[in-house]
Symmetry: C2
Subunit: 192 residues, 2 copies
Amino acid sequence: MPSTSTRDRIIAAAAKLFYDEGIRRVSVDAIAGEAGVTKRTLYYHFESKDDLVAAYLEGRDRPNFAWFQRWYAEAEGPLPERIRALFHGLSRAARHEKWKGCGFLRTAAELANLPGHPAIVIGKAHKQRLEDWLCGLFEQDSIREPRALARQMVLLIDGAFAVVLLNRDPSYMETAGDAAATLVEMAPRAIR
Amino acid sequence: MPSTSTRDRIIAAAAKLFYDEGIRRVSVDAIAGEAGVTKRTLYYHFESKDDLVAAYLEGRDRPNFAWFQRWYAEAEGPLPERIRALFHGLSRAARHEKWKGCGFLRTAAELANLPGHPAIVIGKAHKQRLEDWLCGLFEQDSIREPRALARQMVLLIDGAFAVVLLNRDPSYMETAGDAAATLVEMAPRAIR
């Protein structure tokens, strides 16, 4: 990969191994090996394994958020149907053989005893950005309590990730989409 | 603890360390140390660390399920309010300083590359039991699609665990309770 910087190659290797096997199972040695660099080179770019975990999630922030935006943009119909499309997108993603849940949530689960870890801070910001985006969509649709509804959507999205990681039945994501569509439809709207 | 069997003492030590620090971070040595037994004694009772992880979750199945049943039994008012009480119970639990999410979901997150692991099988069965119990409550209330609604409740419960583990804001559990109460209230009922 001649056009990829060494730093990006290390992040890509860390992302692959952390997502596939978990944070604590993967050693810095394994990441250096996967990236094809020496440990010395790795430590030139990253001070610690914690920095690598943070860089892994930092690297997932925009692409994951972009998926949600694309699923919404490509959907048709009224708002409840477009929100349902987010869950349909998740269910298709979960059917991929390499799917292993949400990297942000899995990292929070592994590092539950370190709530101030830089990677957790990045995970919180990612989910907050998703919530803010949904809140904006609901505001535009004159929903009276857009923030509360946006929080309910994030709960269903993360619930879908958590449930399907455990039971490996992506149809639960469609069920989450049904719940989300009902809640959006039933939400009181301001009179225009 | 003279009245506790050695096996139970080992499970209690494993449960404490796995829940506090995570599965992969905790060694069999640490568990033996915490339980005050030799490694030889530990291996007399448990063949492997995997067995200990399974025994840890097996031991959480009944107590965790009993909490939900108690929160429901102690609640008053119509069904949506009694369902809301489950989430209020979760939110009180999450305010405890030792709270670190749901052990079943965290284990699924850590062992995402081992979906057939005995501990994951136990976790799936636990959540299925919760879903079946909710489904039974909805059937009694003449809800027309009790299974779908029960699945939506489990999605909100596990979503609450996942979201609050990441952002440490237990008020999201009350928000999940609002969503659950709305969905139960809006669910079509069969005409008696």
